[in-house]
Every structure is written in C-alpha cells, then in structure tokens.
Subunit: 599 residues, 2 copies
Amino acid sequence: MLDSTATTQVQETLDALNAALEAGDADAASRLFATDSYWRDLIAVTWNLKTVEGPAGVKDMLTAQLGHTKPRGFAIQDGEVPAEDGGVTTAWITFETAAGRGWGLMRLKDGRIWTLLTSLQELKGFEENKGKRRPMGVQHGADKHRTTWKEARQNEAETLGYTEQPYTVIVGGGQGGIALGARLRQLGVPTIVLDKHDRPGDQWRSRYKSLCLHDPVWYDHLPYIKFPDNWPVFAPKDKIGDWLEMYTKVMELNYWTRSEVTSAQFDETSGTWTVKVNRDGEEVTLHPTQLVLATGMSGKPNIPTFPGMESFKGTIQHSSQHKGPDDWAGKKVVVVGSNNSAHDICAALWETGADVTMVQRSSTHIVKSDTLMDIGLGALYSEEAVANGVTTEKADMIFASLPYRILHEFQIPAYEQMKERDAEFYAGLEKAGFDLDWGDDGSGLFMKYLRRGSGYYIDVGASQLIIDGEIKLAKGQVDRFDETGVVLSDGTHLDADLVVLATGYGSMNGWAADLISQEVADKVGKVWGLGSDTTKDPGPWEGEQRNMWKPTQQQNLWFHGGNLHQSRHYSLYLALQLKARMEGLETPVYGLQEVHHLK
Amino acid sequence: MLDSTATTQVQETLDALNAALEAGDADAASRLFATDSYWRDLIAVTWNLKTVEGPAGVKDMLTAQLGHTKPRGFAIQDGEVPAEDGGVTTAWITFETAAGRGWGLMRLKDGRIWTLLTSLQELKGFEENKGKRRPMGVQHGADKHRTTWKEARQNEAETLGYTEQPYTVIVGGGQGGIALGARLRQLGVPTIVLDKHDRPGDQWRSRYKSLCLHDPVWYDHLPYIKFPDNWPVFAPKDKIGDWLEMYTKVMELNYWTRSEVTSAQFDETSGTWTVKVNRDGEEVTLHPTQLVLATGMSGKPNIPTFPGMESFKGTIQHSSQHKGPDDWAGKKVVVVGSNNSAHDICAALWETGADVTMVQRSSTHIVKSDTLMDIGLGALYSEEAVANGVTTEKADMIFASLPYRILHEFQIPAYEQMKERDAEFYAGLEKAGFDLDWGDDGSGLFMKYLRRGSGYYIDVGASQLIIDGEIKLAKGQVDRFDETGVVLSDGTHLDADLVVLATGYGSMNGWAADLISQEVADKVGKVWGLGSDTTKDPGPWEGEQRNMWKPTQQQNLWFHGGNLHQSRHYSLYLALQLKARMEGLETPVYGLQEVHHLK
C-alpha cells in the first residue's frame, strides 16, 4: 500500500477521534476502536498506567476522564510517515491534554484502531530545562550577592532534609532510584535519595565478582546521558557501579549514602510522611509528601528455613549475601536454585576450583545470551536498530505499545525460533538431566520476567558446564540440613562447606511491611506481575504490572524499579505524576489498582 | 542550481581526481584546483597538519606523498547531497589512503576545487572498538583463569609505569590531556597522563570562584561522551571539574594525580624518553617512546618584574595564582591587564565589595557573549545548528575546512555586524575611556585567539561595571611599585592591598625549556600562532598553528591543547599519529614545521 494511503487513513482516523473528543462524545470515539483493541495510556488521559480493552473499555475510560484531562489535537508526528505492513498501519502520533503534551503510537487494522499508546511527555508550564531551555550556567551582569554554582549546591546539600523538607523521598539508590532522582531534579521536585551503601553503584559492586549485566547496552541506557559508543555490550558490575556513581554526581542528585530508613508513617491529616533515617549514625527525620520505594523489584530476599540449619557446621548464605568464589577454592559448595544467580554463582565457583553442585528444585527456562540478543531484542535494541533510526526512546515506545494482554502472542514465535536454533544445546541440557521449560504458554523469558520476575537463566556459559558435568546437578527439594551438608527429599546427601540459597526474592510490598507497617503492605497488596494466571502470577488479569510506577491504594506511596530499561522509561511517568501533584494540578486517577493478592 | 547539477559537477571532479591520483599524476590532479585554492590536510596525505595553496602547492605535496600515502577512492559521502550556494558547491566526501579511511569537505568554484579538507578518521586494521566493534564486556563460557574487568583494571594501574612502560606520556591532565588520553586508550596505545593536582578537574576547580566557561556547551563537548541536554550553556568551573573527573574514570584513563615531571631527556639511540616523575612523593622513572606536552596552550605565566616590587607591603599575584575575591572585601585591588581574566577577576572582586582598579596597558577587543553566540558561533555550534543536522563532528569539520589564510575574510563581516548591533555598548566603553580594538584587520576574536591567544574579553558583565565607573579604569604602563601600590608611567599612583598581574602567558615551548632543556625548546621554537604578521604573531606565514598536534623538530615530542573544541577535534589527529607510529606504519611527513621564532 502506498504511504499516502496509509497517511490518509491515519489522518481520517485522527480527525474523527479529535472531533469526537472535542464534542465530548465518548461513544463516538469508542466506535473508532476495533472489537479487539487496546488503548494503553501512560498517565496522559487516566493519570494512571492503564490499558482499556475494546470499544466498551474505551467508552468507560473516556466518559470518566474526558472532562478533566481533555485529550485533543491528535496528529501524525512531525517528520514521521505512517506505514502499512501485513494489514497493519502504524503511525507515530502527538497530542495534547489540558495539562500537558503527549507522544504515542497507533496501529490500525481494517480501518479501525487496533492498538493505541498514549503517553504524557511533559507538563505545560513545567517543561524540563534542557535543549533550548537549558540553564545559562553563568548569570551575566554583576551582582554583589552572587552565589556560585558550587555554593548553591553546597547550600542545598546542607539544608535539604534539615531546614528545608524534600517533596519526595526515594528509598533505594540503585538504577531505579537514580534514574527517578535525575528526572525529578530536572523537573524541580526537591528530592532525597536514600541508600545504605557507601557509594552510589555499590548495589552492583557488592555482588559476586564475575557478574556482568545480562541485558545488552542498547537496552540499558539511563535517561539524559547515554552510555558511550565504546561501552561494552554486557557491562561488568564494577563498571556499571562507576557509571552510576558519576551519573549521580553529574546529575546533581541529593543522594544520601550510608542511610537507612528505620520507619515511615503517613499522616492523613497533613498528607505527609514522617520518615526516620539513620544517616551514617545520625538520626534524621524527614517529612516528605511523597514516598517512593525503589528498593529493588526483586524485593526482599526469600530465605527459607530448613530443619537442621542450626546444626550445619558450614556456612549458609542467601545469593544476595554471597560475595563471590574467592574463599571457596577446593571446597564443596551446594547452590540451591537454578535461575540466573544460581547459574552465575555456580560458574564463578567452578572457575575458582570449588566442587559445585546445583540443586534444581523446579524446571527452568534457559536462553543463550547471543540468541536472545539476535532474535529477542535485536529489532529494537541493537547497533542495527540504532542505525535504522530506532532510537532508545522509540524502541521504548514500540515496546510499550504492545498490549500486555496479547504480548505473549508476539513472543511465542520468537522463542520457537530460539528453540530450533539451539536445538543441540537444549538436547545436551536434557541429557544432563536438566529440567527445561519455556514458560506456561511457551512465551519465554520476557513474559516470565513481567509475570513473576524469575524462572530463567540467560546463558553466558554455565549451561555448558552443566552439560559437561563440571557443575554437578542434583534435583528435588531440600528436606533438611545436617552437620555436613544438605539432604534432599529423596534422601540424597550433599556434602557442603558452603550452601548458597539462590532462592529468590519476595514481593516489594515486603519492604513496605518492614519500613511502614504490615497494614500498609496489605493495603497495597502484591507488587509486580500481570495477573496472567500462570505459575507464580495468579489471576485475575490486571492489565498492567501491579503497583509499579502508578498510584497505589496507599495515598502518596509509590513503587519504582525493574531492569535498566524499565527504570529509564517508566521513571518518566512516575516523575511527571509526582511533579503534577507537587504543582497542585488536578490528577483524577482512572481505574485505581485493586488488590487481589497480599504478596 | 539543481542539486543534481551540483552532484554531477562534484562527481566529475572526484572522478578526475581519482583518475589522476591512480595514475600517479600529481600535475593532472593539481590542475583540478583553482589558482586561489587551498588543500588542508589533517594527517591523511601529509602525515602532518598542512595547508598547501594553489596548483603548485598541490603538485609539490602530491609529488612527495602520492607514492607513500596513496589517497584514492574520493566519493560523495553516503547520504549527503552536494549543494550549491552563491556560486560555491559544497560536498561532504569520503576517501581512503594506504593506511586508513578519511572524511572531508570540498568546495568548488567555477568548476575547480577552491577548498579541500581531507582528514584521516581511522587506521585500517586498527579501528576503534566502538559501535559494532564495541567490547563484549563479559567473556561468555567458563574459564578457570578468568580475570574480571576490575582485576584487569587494577592490574594495569599497578603495572603501567613500573613493570610495563607506556608508549606515550602526556604531561598535563586538563581537558587536552584527558581528551587525548581517552582517544589513545580507545586506540590501544598504553598511556599515562600526569597531572600535579589532587583530582582530575582541579585545573578548573582551583581557579577564581566566579569562573564559568566563556564558550557555550555546543562548542565544548569532549570526544565519546557529549554533555547532556540539561548542561548549562556556560558551565561553572566546578561543574566542568566534576565532569572531567568522571570522564577520566569512565574512559578508564591511567591518570596519575599529584604527579609532576622533574625532568625529561630523549635518547636518540633508543628512541625513547627518560621522564622523571615525582608521584606524590615517590620518584618514578618512565620510559615512553612519545612525550606530549599538554600543559595548557597558554603556556607558562608571564610574570613581569617591576622595580620596587620587593618593597611593596601588599600582596602580588599572577592571575593564575589568584584564588578569588573572598579575602579582599573592603580592600584596594589593582588588576594589571584588560583581557578575559582581568575582567572576570575585577568583576568578582567588585561583587565582593573590593575597591577595584583595572590598568589597561593596550587596546582590547570586547565582544558581548550573547552577540558572539548569535553571530559568531550560532550557525555551527548552537541548539539550532544541532536541530539543523549540524552535529558537533560536522561543525568541527566545517570550521576546519576554512583555510587559515582566508579565515579572517569570513570573520570580518561578522564582527562588523556585532559592532553595529552593540553600537551603544561600545560607545559607553569609549566614553569611559576604554581603548577598544577589533584586531589588526578587524577580524575579531577568533582570529586573535588563533594568532596570539590573547587580546580580548568575552563580556559577561564586567564591561558595564567599567562603563558605570564601578570598576575604575587606569591606563598606561606600570613603571614601578612602591610600598603602598603601583606607579604608572604618567606618574599616577594607585594604592593597593593586592596587585593582580593578569599579564598573560608565554609560549608553550617554555614548558619544554623547563622540563627538557632550553636547547630542545629552541629547537622546536614558538608554539601557537599562524605567522599572520599581526600584533604578537610575527611572520612569515606558517599556514597552520605552530607546532600544535603535529610533528615538531624534536623527534617524538608533541604539543597538545587549546580550548575544549580544539582539544576534542585535534586530539583525534594527534592520537592517530601516535598510534600509527606505535604500530610501525610508514608515516612520511610532508612539510615539517620550520622554526622562525624561539618564543
């Protein structure tokens, strides 16, 4: 089909949408949508992360929101040309609302809207100071009371949290807290990031020494400063640590190191939190309006208890406590678990000369790293994608535009392709007795990540050690410990000097229980997952990831995190939600998260 | 003229050039050039920074170089379309040589080549590991002797300069040394950067507290990592300091802080230097093959001696020693000089409440900062330029493509425009008694910078203080000091608690005299300047800046520096020259710098 036809079709749809919206006619607008259709809105219309489905869903949402948020002026994005491929016409669009300006992606099928992504990009009157609006730096002219940049920064660092209160406190200064902190700084939202480590980046530095990112560089950029062209595809942990440290400084975050929250309480009357912080031994009480938990999407370590643990003469560590293999050369180590960390830890121990046994308790999804890059990510996040004009920002939007409801349908063929490409590899693993799976519906790694955040290993070499029997494999549940090791349910005894429990992490609302109260943790409910009714992600269907980056049932409490991609992209929407509230804008939330599970 | 005509014309010229070069026919190639024409080559053909003029110059150069460097394959750059404007057709071009690949810009006038810029961009077989060639970071597979990134970095830091010798030592770790160090690291040239300060960036941090860059952000990027979109137009000195520090770490430079060179000696026989370094109290002897002085293009401070200095009861500081105004509130200060530093220092002292007098010894060129941005730089280095597709790299090339011989002709109209735009401002300065100039030929600031590196102030506010009499103005030469102040030639006595000598800097070969020997300093001669036969830049015409970024009369001794723009752009050519020599490539230099002035 000619581009001009695609353009005409898109323009006609947008014209009709604009007319319906201007007329306040939710019904007419909804009739532009196909029976099977999805409007995913990232805070532009719903002040929520929300996907509505079909004409009925669209009508319900617009009926509630149209009068407040006034979406309008939908147009083909300047410089972009709609394109048709396989019966689907895709168009980059822009629009505005009462409060801001938006960007989106629309797909038409059979003349109707099939998918629509709308995302708020900036608030009118509160645009970020960048590009043409960047600060001058120097104040020209002469001023007897001039404050230099350094003096202003020092003054801010000394007063914020003491004589001045931050609007937002972010608990946790990993990539999530840092990315959000940078965006809030840009938006002029006074913010303190709290982190328990000595330096920004220690979240990575403190982990096992062979750790490298499992996602490639094109997927990992932070906002504002991209990794340079010479950055490794899979960055070593200490290099990422150094980058986060410099980023924190360059982006001028108010980042408190060696700082742990001891308690947090919300006062309904004042609408503010009382957050008690141990700042390197000093007790400081903060009174922010907004509290963000960015303590890691993996949440609190799951540390199971087994009978006999106390009698074990060796060492027991959760994977999050394991510092690497150096002390364990020539020793016997049992690693309980078979996901990413378990594999990485086993391989590093083997390399150092430990005798290593992995205990596989349930089936695991394995994908080779280069295959995942080529087939899973390459079209959006790769050197080729960048060369094809798919910027990181566009890739994020394309990815976000695929509705979670049908995302697995796009994923399944990719994983079938991977299975075929690496058939020999998988046969080897099965021959070694390793239990494989591809997710409940064969949709593979990314769906497992979104649904449960676990259950997979991106192979960078450990699988071959299992195939070759260099890492020994045991299977089954741990029944108990004894003085010398671990006993499995089938009676197998595994001698051990060290047992590493690579047993994963709980829901992030566990942090809310610890820092705030069990009551608040239960009020907000489970964090992460889609309600896909698959293993470890019980239904009902939620439509979006539970409680992430959006309003929760606890007023002024937010959850932020995820991998570097999510920390980058979704920090924008969380930052804009906080800014809008600070500025007193009307932010009526459509479809506030309901709670179906406590953890 | 239609683009297609321009393209045809360019293609025909390139075809003829390629044919002549392939046939080894320097004469035929030279006939493609206009009578008044300029071929500026940045190490691609000449292994030098060299501009040759007219057909005769081209013929002489090609006769000498054609057989060795074999330039060929000149083509219109992929994705670029030649364009005609005002009788000049401009084309981005690519080409190759025996050793590498090049990029350039060609201008045709009346069917012949008017200007040709050729620059080497990479060496064949030694391409940088970036983009598609970026390192993997992780080594997939398992290896019992795996070294982590952190271990490898630590090992390198411990051995380089001790058990392993660097190929290159760079003396001076400001933006020049850092930019060059980053490029050399990317090219795999083992390098140590030596700097006397406590931290990278202290070159800026240690200066007077109100200092901000006088050049705007678009002009200031370092290689590989651009300043982010929110970076101030004129960055405060401490912010630049922080950026340089993080850059040094992220780019993994071997940067020795608190390290001063005590002596350097070249051994003709071994072809290596013996460089004695005081590294934070430890004496270390280095044996690099190449020595780069990046000690500041301004060279050593000019500290004049005046009769009676020893009897003066107050304080005397060179501007480079002046730490800012804080100690001088309510005191009398005399600042000798009227260039950038003098103005900045006077304004900061006035802001703090000092009684300030500037002593103008000779006329000064003043341009208002925003005018300079709008008229002088905007087309190449601005938000608009970036939006128009003029990347920093393209801007650098366009700028480099204007031959120094005729550059002033392009500059004069811009400064005439500035003079008109700010007529009222200049009238005010003249009324206040301030002596203005616009350069010997009215070509303004950038020519002054290239010719003599001094003689101007980019006004960010001090001029108004002079107009208003807030900064007092005295004129003439300093005759002597007495106990209470300074006496000018006309007998005027200026009381002073502090005298700041903003008396500029000498030639960079002064550093060679100090670190190596007077003999070597004299052998290489004056550094900087074009030989324009204007004030402080005596002839004969040199064609390029003396001794900068190119081979000198002292084997294996190089000078690097300049503003951020020059540090960024010319570090590429110096880095490639060093890499080529390390790899033993043939690098026959055409037109080695002659020495006409000792300083």
